[in-house]
């Protein structure tokens, strides 16, 4: 029951004890971060591989997503149906997805089937079949999704925001591509992608559950040993979003406008990141009780919800928010967001707000570890972001160490009301665009 003790220590005022993540090195030198949790008969694994949609060639947007979706549609000796039946019969769920900077995958399985789950994950990564029929079928499924999303106000807003913020940069292109680009991707492209990208070099692995470290070590080699050592080189530059206070409007015949807003954020590695994270919690990250939720929903009833978040892709930093409001009210919502942003810059936050935010963040942290997949995901995230295997032990102290002076200094540094860029999708009343919306790329 080490786990329970560990969490207890966290939820109580700061304690030296912490979750015992260990580093396992396989006989051939593969490394996994591992948490032994024998309390339930489950094993979960998460892996991350550098490179995702950012590596898609211009004109072939959607390649990474298509290729990665196909990994679990047949591998090794199994066609797609046989592969799926094996997973179902052993109660194993495997997911592998391409994000923009990373390919993330993993499984959850009953511990008695863990070895089989490792084997099937290994086959999916190393020996995908990419049968022509399956390539076409999954392409059609993605196209169907794209056709749906092209009419979804939230997706439209997100795409337009990124296209405006990242012209000429891969972050400005939709990960899933467009119907046009997806149709140009060939089976050869997909095969080449998997050979070039899925390699041991950047592999990060998290393992959690009812399994012993020696077995994990052996399975790591059996699962990932067949992958090529090196991935093809990629070069993607670092770039802050270009946000210069614009308002873009995309007209759609819907009763409610969807708004995405944002400004440059902060890199995960920046020493001020934690202060910025707390600042975001106070202004709009904390749900009920955040400033924006309180002003715009609770006091005025203008929306069902408003949220802000820091986004830290590998090569940028963004501070984003989203809200929906009826077309007649959205102009007022935008005005209130701007005012709130200005107040944050001018006046900072109060000691009471900081104290509440710290209490929430330190108390809630443990709930990121309430499921096996959740824990495995944390282990991999720390590796991607180079946080150190002892991050769990240090994290709440990092939160506690942030002072009011830090927060108000960071508010001055980071908060830029004049740069907030709004994309509004709907039939907003009283909202004047500052310039035309750029056409979607690809």
């Amino acid at each position: 029951m080490r786990f329970a003790l560990v969490f207890l220590s966290l939820l109580l005022p700061l304690s030296a004890a912490a979750m015992d993540a260990q580093r396992i090195e396989s006989p051939s030198g593969l490394v996994a971060w591992f948490v032994h949790d024998p309390t339930i008969p489950v094993v979960a694994v998460e892996v991350s591989i550098a490179g995702g949609a950012v590596t898609d060639p211009v004109g072939k947007e959607g390649l990474a997503v298509l290729a990665v979706d196909l990994l679990t549609e047949g591998a090794g000796p199994y066609d797609g149906q046989a592969f799926a039946a094996l997973l179902e019969d052993k109660s194993i769920s495997i997911q592998i997805n391409a994000g923009s900077d990373f390919i993330r995958g993993g499984f959850r399985a009953p511990s008695k089937n863990a070895a089989e789950a490792f084997r099937l994950l290994g086959l999916a990564l190393a020996e995908p079949r990419f049968a022509a029929d399956d390539v076409e079928r999954v392409r059609q499924q993605l196209l169907s999704g794209l056709t749906r999303e092209e009419r979804d106000p939230r997706t439209l807003a997100t795409r337009a925001w990124y296209a405006a913020a990242f012209p000429e940069h891969p972050y400005g292109r939709p990960s899933k591509g467009s119907p046009t680009s997806l149709k140009t991707v060939t089976r050869d492209d997909v095969v080449a992608f998997s050979k070039a990208r899925i390699a041991r070099e950047s592999l990060k692995i998290g393992v959690v559950g009812d399994i012993d470290p020696a077995t994990v070590g052996r399975l790591l080699d059996e699962t990932f040993g067949a992958l090529p050592a090196k991935a093809a080189p990629t070069e993607v530059k670092t770039m802050p979003p270009l946000a210069a206070g614009d308002v873009l409007v995309i007209e759609r015949p819907v009763p409610q406008s969807v708004v995405l807003f944002g400004q440059p954020g902060i890199a995960r590695s920046d020493p001020d990141f934690m202060a910025a994270f707390i600042l975001n919690h106070i202004v709009g990250g904390g749900g009920f009780g955040s400033r924006l939720m309180s002003d715009i929903r609770e006091t005025r009833g203008l929306t069902y919800g408003i949220y802000t978040y820091l986004s830290t892709p590998k090569r940028s930093g963004l501070w984003l928010g989203s809200v929906s409001a009826d077309n007649a009210k959205v102009a007022e919502v935008i005005r209130l967001v701007r005012e709130s942003w200005q107040r944050l810059k001018d006046e900072g936050v109060t000691a009471a707000e900081l104290d509440d935010a710290k209490r929430y963040m330190t108390g809630a942290y443990a709930r990121n570890f309430a499921t096996s997949r959740g824990i495995a995901g944390q282990l991999v995230g720390w590796q991607e972001e180079e946080m150190g295997i002892d991050y769990f032990k240090r994290r709440n102290a990092l939160v506690e160490a942030v002072t009011l002076a830090d927060l108000n200094r960071v508010a001055k540094r980071l908060v830029e009301p004049d740069k907030l860029m709004f994309v509004v999708v709907g039939k907003p009343q009283g909202v004047t665009p500052t310039r035309p919306t750029p056409a979607p790329r690809s």
Binding site: Q81, S91, P110, E136, S144, Q256, T371
Partner: protein, 443 residues
């Protein structure tokens, strides 16, 4: 609904002290004022999920007051003489907890997840708002606007939600499940503070509620706390939970909606079905097996025939929801590939259905579906709130703990003949509503 099936089973399976799953019983007790209490001792993390369920949902609303159950759910966060408006959420947040609430056709539920040493605080707050809610127009009216925005966001901006709402109104001809939980816009606009309080006084009383606590907790610790905070709340007479019966269905119903907001066509067909608490409830287990084998996964019949074996559809499946006080529903859905039509997809779906009804599933299909459903047990405790959700939902529609615990056995006992009989009883065209969503070219 499969998820609920999983959860129900989880609750029945319970705590494993070793790597092999063992059976555990949720503990239950009742206070003198009628409050039912369920305890799920699962100390994997030192946290608890606290849920309070009220046996009142939108299907219990008086005609003309549609949405009042959901309206009150929102207003339950608006304070008491000792806890200010909006303070409940802030207090839980300051303690590192999360909280929210939900309303369904049959019940309304409130939950919080906190460190287990904050259990007492949550019980105190929940007991307080069970009896001391205080509402003023200053907080009620903006919240009604929030709900109208919620309706704009989750229904009125989404053609699929609008069509679903219309289809429900056709599937149930008389039963109140025909009405949307959130309410129709024109009725929400007229709900008042007094409507909410009338609903509150009628239904929010300990003898109409269930307290479920799951996680790092046991009866010895919970019972004195429950007595201390909920014990003093007096029971009040609650109106009998009367629900009408559906008349026989005589005609297949179809509806089509076209919208510029729709990118790809889709078809959804729903059949009225028995549930755990309505109609021939013995069929509820066979229907779960039927939904799983016919369209529950990517190796199911529908997915294979419509998505894999021929380039016809991008998705296809089946689902069944047994967890209701009133009639349940059995659903089929598909979405054609680009270049193929809904008519083509429906013809193949109908042929698959005819074959299923004529020949029945194979023994192997039945065995695999049962095995897959039952296998979810392995993940029983990989969640804090899941078991509390399942047990609360079951008790709130008048099921028993024993019934929930018998789920794996009942699934195991399902035979091929029972699946065939249930399919024939439920999958009748005249009991169905077929809803088709089509793109409309932008003008």
């Amino acid at each position: 609904m499969r998820t609920l099936g999983f959860l129900l089973m989880l609750a029945a399976l319970g705590l494993a002290r070793t790597a092999e799953a063992q059976v555990y019983q949720p503990d239950t007790f009742k206070l003198a004022n009628g409050l039912e209490v369920v305890v799920v001792d699962n100390p994997r993390v030192p946290a608890v999920a606290v849920m309070v369920w009220y046996k009142a949902g939108s299907a219990d609303e008086p005609l003309g007051k549609g949405g009042v159950a959901h309206f009150l759910e929102h207003l339950m966060f608006k304070g008491t003489p000792t806890v200010g408006a909006g303070e409940y959420a802030r207090i839980i947040g300051r303690e590192g907890g999360s909280q929210n609430a939900f309303t369904s056709v049959d019940y309304t539920g409130y939950w919080a997840e906190v460190a287990s040493d904050r259990l007492e605080l949550v019980l105190k707050l929940e007991a307080d708002r069970m009896v001391n809610l205080e509402l003023t127009d200053a907080v009620v009216l903006p919240e009604r606007d929030v709900i109208l925005e919620e309706r704009s966001q989750v229904v009125d901006s989404r053609p699929s939600s609008q069509l679903g709402e219309q289809a429900r109104a056709m599937l149930y001809q008389h039963y109140p499940y025909r009405l949307p939980v959130i309410g129709w816009r024109q009725e929400i606009q007229k709900l008042t503070r007094e409507d909410a309080l009338t609903w509150y006084r009628r239904h929010y009383t300990p003898n109409n509620a269930i307290l479920v606590v799951a996680g790092d907790v046991d009866v010895a610790r919970l019972k004195p706390l429950a007595e201390k905070y909920f014990g003093p709340i007096p029971a009040r007479a609650v109106p009998e939970r009367w629900r009408p019966e559906e008349p026989p269905a005589r005609a297949a119903r179809r509806l089509t909606m076209k919208s510029e907001q729709v990118g790809t066509a889709s078809l959804s067909r729903t059949y009225q079905a028995p549930s755990y608490r309505y109609g021939d409830s013995g069929q509820a287990y066979a229907l779960q097996v039927l939904a799983e084998l016919f369209g529950g996964s990517t190796t199911s019949r529908l997915y294979r025939q419509m998505v894999i074996d021929q380039p016809l559809a991008t998705s296809s499946g089946a689902y069944y929801d047994a967890s209701a006080l009133g009639p349940g529903s059995f659903g089929l859905y598909t979405s054609p590939r680009q270049g193929r039509t809904v008519e083509e997809a429906e013809a193949v779906l109908d042929a698959a259905l005819e074959k299923l009804l004529a020949d029945g599933p194979t023994e192997d299909e039945v065995a695999r579906a049962k095995q897959r459903l039952a296998a979810a047990a392995a993940f029983a405790r990989d969640s804090l709130r899941g078991p509390a959700q399942a047990l609360g939902a079951a008790l709130a529609i008048g099921r028993t703990i024993e019934d929930v615990e018998a789920w794996p056995k009942r699934i195991e006992a399902v035979t091929r003949d029972e699946v065939i009989a249930a399919a024939k009883a439920v999958l009748k065209p005249e009991a169905s509503v077929t809803a088709i969503l089509l793109p409309k070219p932008t003008s």
